[in-house]
Symmetry: C2
Subunit: 269 residues, 2 copies
């Protein structure tokens, strides 16, 4: 049995106090450098494997400060404060002398409390009944995700038409399928193509500048999901003077909200 | 003419490389320590007054690592990376030897581009026609905001009833009115009372753990707003095992989206 490319991409080696080194993986090459979702996942993993880590991911923000080159990188994950049931981390990703990403993460212990979902997932035909998107000729990282579009599919023509909507809804999971964990959930949440491409069918230059992930699920809930399809929707609130936002929701197969993803991207248009 | 309490709360003094000291303001005392919105605003202000700052706020995340005591604090705001049109910052707030908050901020230059709003603001009666909420007997920071509730008002009874909705919609502005700027916009976005109190009418212990602000507006758009009422709505996606999220939107009087606020709070229930 060969290893999954995602597990290869998540391989980190301790290289000093709070320092972990990893290497970009060709299977996750994106349209401008390595896929940002995997960079975020690697930073999250640095905390997860840190010997001082307590609890599980609650939230994480990573700011992409510069284009990441193919090759090795070093993640610094430092505990800034450890409380009884929460822990705060600072994150930095470096290549040589260059800082390419900075961030913070919040870990915590979940407790049995009154709990309710309030956001209802969209109605969706069963994953198996939705045709799988053709990813031939796309970037390697696109091939790493099995996508079945319900709305807002990747454009088949680039006519610059303002569609009036930046919403995409899809079933998505790793390709090949792989049991879900916090890192793979972080990565897949960034699998949406740029919202301005959806809205305008115009392949303008675009890039993610900051990403905030909010983990709603416990490790047990992620394990229960296994390698099933995730229901995922993303939308921008608007595009203003070179910056747009995007919120994505990812639900498990039992209609449970697992993760919310908020990002800001730049665009040139 | 006396100064506005918000301007007093924003007073910072340089005290070393990348270091600024400030003092908590009694007018913004909250129900557990100083109002978190003003702490975020002070951290943002440290970047705004920093001599190396380029551009205007695009996004900011602040993680609240510990309760902040009344008194002085020191903000460290360091430029992590400066690009041609963007700048990345790391933030830390300390009291004595204790780290009480950590974060990151993204600043950038806005450009003339194709721009569109996609999120439509809710229909709302004119601010002047909506009764002003009674803030008598509440925390000082509550008195600092003029609130006119359209939906999901502060509960008048605590009967533990599950209302089924955590949504609040209101008109809000500084009290007394004050021209809007990036710092006051950051602060007012945190003026919503805890979402679980709205949902359950049960005053359980609660606290903000992380806050991400996405600034959609240019400085010119903020100046054009002046001291008019903001239309603001907030809602939680759900409450799970001691943690809940909240997204708030703030629109200017011309129905322009000015800021999106995402946070995670803990709750005990």
């Amino acid at each position: 049995m060969t290893s999954h490319p995602f597990d290869e991409a998540m391989a980190l080696r301790a290289c000093g106090d709070h320092l972990y080194t990893g290497t970009t993986h060709p299977a996750y090459a994106g349209f401008v450098g390595p896929f940002g979702g995997v960079t975020a996942a690697a930073a999250l993993r640095a905390v997860l494997v840190h010997p001082l880590r307590k609890g599980r991911p609650i939230s994480m923000t990573l700011n992409y400060a510069a284009a990441i080159a193919e090759g090795t990188f070093v993640i610094e994950a430092k505990p800034a404060r450890t409380n009884r049931s929460t822990q705060h981390w600072t994150l930095a990703v470096r290549q040589g002398d260059a800082t390419v990403a900075v961030g913070v993460a919040l870990f915590g212990t979940r407790r049995n409390t009154w709990s309710r979902s309030e956001l209802v997932p969209p109605q969706a035909a069963a994953a198996e009944s939705v045709p799988r998107a053709d990813d031939s000729g796309r970037e390697p990282c696109v091939e790493r995700y099995e996508m079945r579009f319900l709305e807002g599919a990747f454009p088949t023509k680039w006519d610059g038409c303002d569609t009036g909507s930046s919403r995409t809804c899809m079933w998505v999971r790793d390709n090949p399928p792989r049991p879900l964990d916090y890192c793979s959930l972080a990565a897949v949440s960034d699998a949406f193509f740029p919202r301005i491409w959806c809205r305008r069918r115009d392949k303008v230059p675009v890039g993610t500048m900051t990403m905030t992930l909010i983990f709603h699920a416990s490790i047990e809930e992620l394990r229960a999901h296994g390698d099933d399809h995730l229901l995922a929707e993303a939308r921008s609130r608007g595009f203003n003077q070179g910056y747009s936002d995007q919120t994505a929701h990812l639900w498990g197969s039992d209609r449970r909200l697992l993760l919310t993803h908020h990002q800001v991207a730049y665009y040139r248009s």
